[in-house]
């Protein structure tokens, strides 16, 4: 009850803008569909059925929701410290590579050691890859937006090299690592579907992030630094430490997502492992306004758009890229609520705490 009371009494007001943003974006999508000569109803029906039409479709949507929750959390955690982590994609790769290595190279361990170990190493891989731009930001003022993007590209090449050379399974027909040991498998929830326990791990991560951010001193410091760096410094907080820590946690969450994909879905790491989760994660975090709990529906929406797109393409002959356009419109309206307010004539209630991330390039 206490938690419910704490929920804002005007919760519907908070939901109104995001909902209108989604509806408006879908309307724009409808215009594009109609303009390219396809049936809007067919397309959107396909989109919904593709995502939720059958039990298998629902399970597949949840399979995609899992990394979306984790990567969305990763971006949101960075936002809370005033950091824009665009490097989630690279950190996810780092986690996937590390977890895959422990998964196949370490042999003879029991499940209850091997699986957690592989996940932990995956988290660590992501955390290290995330902490580097955090360190660079804190020590040299190099802007994390550029650095994380550069590290994405570097990781992409590094993964390609590792999988094709030292980690290559020479017996495989495609370039990939060896299969991980059975003891590192993340078990499935229902044997017939691909949905695995990583989904629940992601949900647990939501609670963990909420707890860290709002119930611990560490989280308080991170949020303070994100809110006002100079005030935090004046209060004796170590900004450098918090930058590195926030980026490490953010990267760790992304690394966990990568580990999940390897340990729960593929059981190996292919060379052409292109996820795209890292970039969608930015949108998910923006839509959720970095609220850990709001990440769940936000991730679900993105996953259903991604999963439904295939059937939409078959039914209406509309390219799956339409989904990207709709998504871009959603965040555009979320980022600039004034547009939505203008369209629907909604008055601004009070100054909404917008997040200002842009602080030039050199200034730390």
């Amino acid at each position: 009850m206490n938690l419910l009371k704490k929920l804002d009494k005007e919760w519907y007001r908070k939901l109104l803008l995001p909902l209108l943003a989604i509806i408006t974006a879908l309307a724009i999508g409808a215009v594009i569909i109609a303009a390219s000569g396809a049936s809007v109803i067919d397309a959107y029906q396909g989109l919904i059925e593709g995502a939720f039409g059958k039990p298998r479709a629902i399970a597949e949507t949840l399979v995609v929701t899992t990394p979306y929750i984790l990567t969305g959390l990763a971006v949101a955690f960075g936002f809370k410290c005033g950091l824009f982590n665009i490097g989630v994609e690279g950190q996810l790769y780092a986690g996937a590579v590390s977890a895959a290595f422990v998964g196949y190279a370490v042999k003879g361990l029991p499940v209850f050691i091997h699986l957690p170990l592989a996940m932990l190493v995956g988290v660590l891989g992501g955390a290290v890859w995330g902490a580097i731009p955090g360190y660079l930001k804190a020590k040299t003022g190099g802007h994390e937006v550029i650095n994380t993007i550069m590290m994405n590209h570097i990781m992409l090449r590094l993964t390609d090299y590792l999988v094709k050379n030292p980690m290559l399974d020479p017996t495989a027909s495609i370039p990939r690592t060896a299969y991980i040991e059975k003891t590192a498998y993340l078990p499935k929830i229902i044997p017939a579907f691909r949905l695995h326990w990583g989904f629940f791990i992601a949900l647990a991560a939501v609670f963990a992030v909420y707890f860290i951010l709002y119930k611990t001193t560490v989280g308080f410091e991170i949020r303070t630094v994100g809110h006002n760096q100079s005030a935090a410094r004046y209060a004796g907080m170590n900004v450098t430490k918090n930058f590195i820590l926030a980026m490490a946690v953010s990267g760790g969450l992304a690394g966990l997502a990568g580990a999940n994909e390897v340990l729960g879905l593929n059981y190996y790491l292919p060379a052409s492992f292109i996820s795209g989760y890292g970039f969608d994660a930015i949108a998910i975090a923006l839509l959720a306004k970095s609220n850990p709990f709001a990440i769940i529906p936000s991730a679900l929406l993105w996953a259903s758009l991604r999963n439904g797109a295939g059937l939409m393409q078959i039914r209406a002959g509309i390219s799956i890229d339409l989904v990207n356009i709709i998504q871009a419109c959603v965040i555009m309206f979320i980022a600039a609520p004034a547009i939505i307010r203008w369209i629907y004539r909604i008055k601004a209630v009070k100054a909404e705490g917008g997040m200002i991330l842009t602080k030039g390039w050199g200034k730390a």
Binding site: G142, I146, N324, A335, L357
Partner: protein
């Protein structure tokens, strides 16, 4: 206070020391590397176009480079010499790159003129992108959407070329597409006061969706996959100059546009009324407003001009290089362009030099791959990105953005 300065000094010393140790190790490795060529008396052949080629004893040359680097890495530790660590870094970096070139030149001629010409060509989208960023940031709008603007322009330019059957109209459409995307960025960040990085991200995501949609819905269905590319133009007389003629005066149009724009923008920024106003807004919009400059109009104008330049950069990919359009074909060049802009300290000439360095590392990677140098090609691919990070870490020294960069202007 004293404690604070002590800390700064300690940090400075630590930075110097770690740099010296790092470069020291690299140079020792370089010297060891030279012994590899001692036993078989390798000779490197550096080609200079029609002027012939120069043979150099590989082992000796690399040994000398290593020794110079070694001296350079110790120099900052001697207080009297007053050598900055940055100099050390440059000496060592030059040494390593030269050694790699010498290695690649063993046995077969390494075309130095070709290397520089290729660097210039590959630097074109980066320099243009950097100037696009500069146009925006000099009026205080951070633009991380250059990547998205380039991608959209590359796609629209290609589609227009195919449908209108004219490369030059295609080029025009690319430029327009860039500025339309920029207008959206200006609308979101100037009028809607959206966070500029968020607004840029929106445009980047939108560009991926839009171009993918256009490609799969129209281009692929209509089986339109290839077109001619913009022709190579040789400027009469000037292109006859040995070496320089090949590098600077025999190029495709967008390369020429890029070089012209560098000169033009330098003059425009620092010698014209428009430039003064632009810079005033970037440094102190309130002050600019009080003296009667229309801040919003200037911001819109400059951001859209920047979009047009980014559009030109986008056309480089589809109309000048490949004659086709692929998903994500800009491949992060828009972000590297931002690093070149920071490297160049928000000055067109600086951006040109910065862009050349990135173009050079790209060119090296391509030539090394052709020459079959036994370095995994993935590591060569990483070079531009690594260099970007090193640049941002401030090896180049302090680079200060316009004072009001990234701050939305709210008229009171």
């Amino acid at each position: 206070m004293r404690a604070a300065t002590g800390n700064v000094q300690k940090e400075y010393l630590l930075r110097t020391l770690s740099f010296c140790v790092l470069t020291l190790v690299v140079n020792i490795l370089l010297i060891l590397f030279s012994f590899r060529f001692r036993s078989d008396h390798s000779v490197s052949l550096l080609g200079f176009g029609k002027l012939g080629s120069i043979p150099i004893r590989t082992a000796t040359a690399i040994l000398i480079l290593g020794c110079i680097g070694l001296a350079g890495s110790i120099a900052p530790l001697v207080k009297r010499l007053k050598v900055e660590v940055n100099v050390t870094f440059y000496i060592t970096a030059t040494g390593v790159v030269s050694a790699l070139i010498l290695w690649a030149a063993v046995g077969s001629i390494f075309d130095m003129v070709g290397l520089v010409a290729l660097s210039l060509r590959l630097s074109t989208p980066i320099v243009l992108g950097a100037m696009a960023g500069m146009l925006c940031e000099r009026t205080g709008v951070v633009n991380i959407a250059i990547e998205g603007m380039m991608l959209t322009a590359a796609c629209v330019g290609f589609a227009a070329t195919v449908y209108l059957n004219s490369l030059w109209l295609g080029l025009l459409c690319a430029i327009l597409a860039g500025s339309v995307m920029a207008a959206l960025h200006a609308f979101l960040s100037v009028s809607m006061i959206t966070d500029q990085i968020v607004s840029g991200t929106v445009i980047n995501i939108l560009a991926v969706g839009l171009t993918g949609f256009i490609r799969r819905s129209f281009l692929v269905k209509a089986k339109l996959s290839r077109t001619a590319i913009l022709p190579i133009i040789s400027i009469p007389l000037l292109s006859k100059i040995p070496i320089l003629g090949t590098i600077f005066f025999t190029n495709q149009p967008i390369v020429f546009f890029m070089m012209i724009l560098v000169v033009l923008l330098t003059i425009a920024f620092f010698k014209t009324r428009w430039g003064l106003r632009t810079r005033a807004i970037g440094e102190h919009p309130e002050a600019a407003d009080t003296v009667g400059i229309n801040v919003f109009r200037m911001k819109y104008l400059n951001v859209m001009l920047g979009g047009a330049v980014a559009g030109l950069a986008g056309a480089w990919f589809s109309l000048e290089t490949t004659g086709s359009f692929d998903d994500m074909m800009t491949n992060g060049k828009g972000f590297i362009a931002l690093a070149a802009m920071i490297f160049g300290k928000w000055h067109p000439v600086g951006a040109f030099i910065g862009g050349l360095i990135f173009g050079f590392s790209d060119a090296l990677q391509i030539i090394f791959q052709i020459k079959n140098i036994p370095i995994p090609f993935q590591f060569l691919w990483m070079m531009p990105y690594l260099i970007t990070m090193i640049v941002l870490a401030g090896v180049i020294g302090k680079s200060t953005p316009p004072a009001a960069d990234g701050e939305p202007y709210i008229k009171r």
